[in-house]
Subunit: 194 residues, 2 copies
């Protein structure tokens, strides 16, 4: 497959990484195309040719974010015991929420919570994305339950929801400027409920 025509003058993945940061910092509606294209180092028509439109760009950004910036979550799920899964997830999550080389908080939360009139499906999309993570955790904890790795009275679905609630609450705190130590101290307390 030979490439024809003028070659693209920018790296699409690198541009997407810049877009992630803008969406992360400003949210979906708070990120204007001027913000985005300036950060991406390209102009508007190039962005439209490469990604479709603003919403498509956002979905691509969230997908790449989930794959790259949330790799720690998949590693946590691979831990041998339910306790290790939860603790690893919450600890690495707290670190990810306060990475000094990244915006504070979580794109999936900051991207957009409210949404009623027009872009309600953006909030829905992010909620579905978070729910998928919660379900993966619930499935992992269900497996632990069948393996006898969890107290018999434990509810894997409720437990997964609790872990995600702590994670999302920490994301809200991180977005407000909480320190890594503060988030880890919260994790210390949260783990006592497991």
């Amino acid at each position: 497959m030979a490439e024809r025509g003028r070659p693209r003058g920018f790296d699409a993945d690198a541009a997407l990484d810049r877009a992630i940061e803008v969406f992360w910092r400003h949210g979906y509606e708070g990120a204007s195309l001027a913000d985005l294209t300036t950060a991406m180092g390209i102009n508007r028509p190039s962005m439209y040719a490469a990604f479709g439109n603003k919403e498509d760009l956002f979905r691509r950004a969230v997908a790449r974010y989930a794959e790259a910036d949330m790799a720690y979550a998949r590693e946590a799920l691979a831990q041998p015991t339910a306790r290790a899964v939860i603790e690893t997830f919450l600890r690495t999550n707290a670190d990810a929420l306060t990475r000094p080389d990244r915006p504070a908080g979580c794109l999936s939360v900051q991207g957009g919570l409210a949404g009623g009139s027009d872009n309600g499906h953006i909030a829905q999309f992010l909620a579905d994305s978070r729910a998928a993570g919660e379900k993966a955790l619930a499935d992992r904890l269900s497996q632990a339950a069948t393996e006898g790795d969890l107290p018999s009275d434990a509810d894997p679905v409720a437990l997964a929801r609790y872990v995600m609630v702590v994670s999302e609450g920490n994301a809200v705190h991180a977005a407000a400027g909480a320190t890594r130590a503060a988030l880890q101290a919260t994790v210390n307390i949260a783990l006592k409920a497991i």
Copy 2:
């Protein structure tokens, strides 16, 4: 003080209540003046004469929200024991987040988390508002500690932060459509850490 001039044709407090719901559902930047004034039943100049501008209206809305819709928090602080304070707060909070006659979630979280370029001070204002609530809870728990009502190794500041993290995480879940029962089940688990 006699009133001169044409009397106002609407109830400012009632209009503010309508504005609260719009901000609650759409967030600060997602709520347009057209949305707001339509819901308030007034036109633009009336709103500007009564409240100043959009940001002033939002601050007034948040203040009224804190006073009316979050009265349960002050009642929780008045409980006799630290345990009762925390449990009452989390339970009434979970109910408030899922009131059928109100938007799901919490205005203070939904109003705006991200904010970088222009309206960053809106996110900051809301973060300060939440921090004030967290400090009030920490003060109450400090008092409990001096009264011997809390384990000697407990950190009131960290504990207050944990409670607020659970509350805010539940707010994120509520905004995504979680049921009241789900939130209360999360509270059940969260309380085991106390």
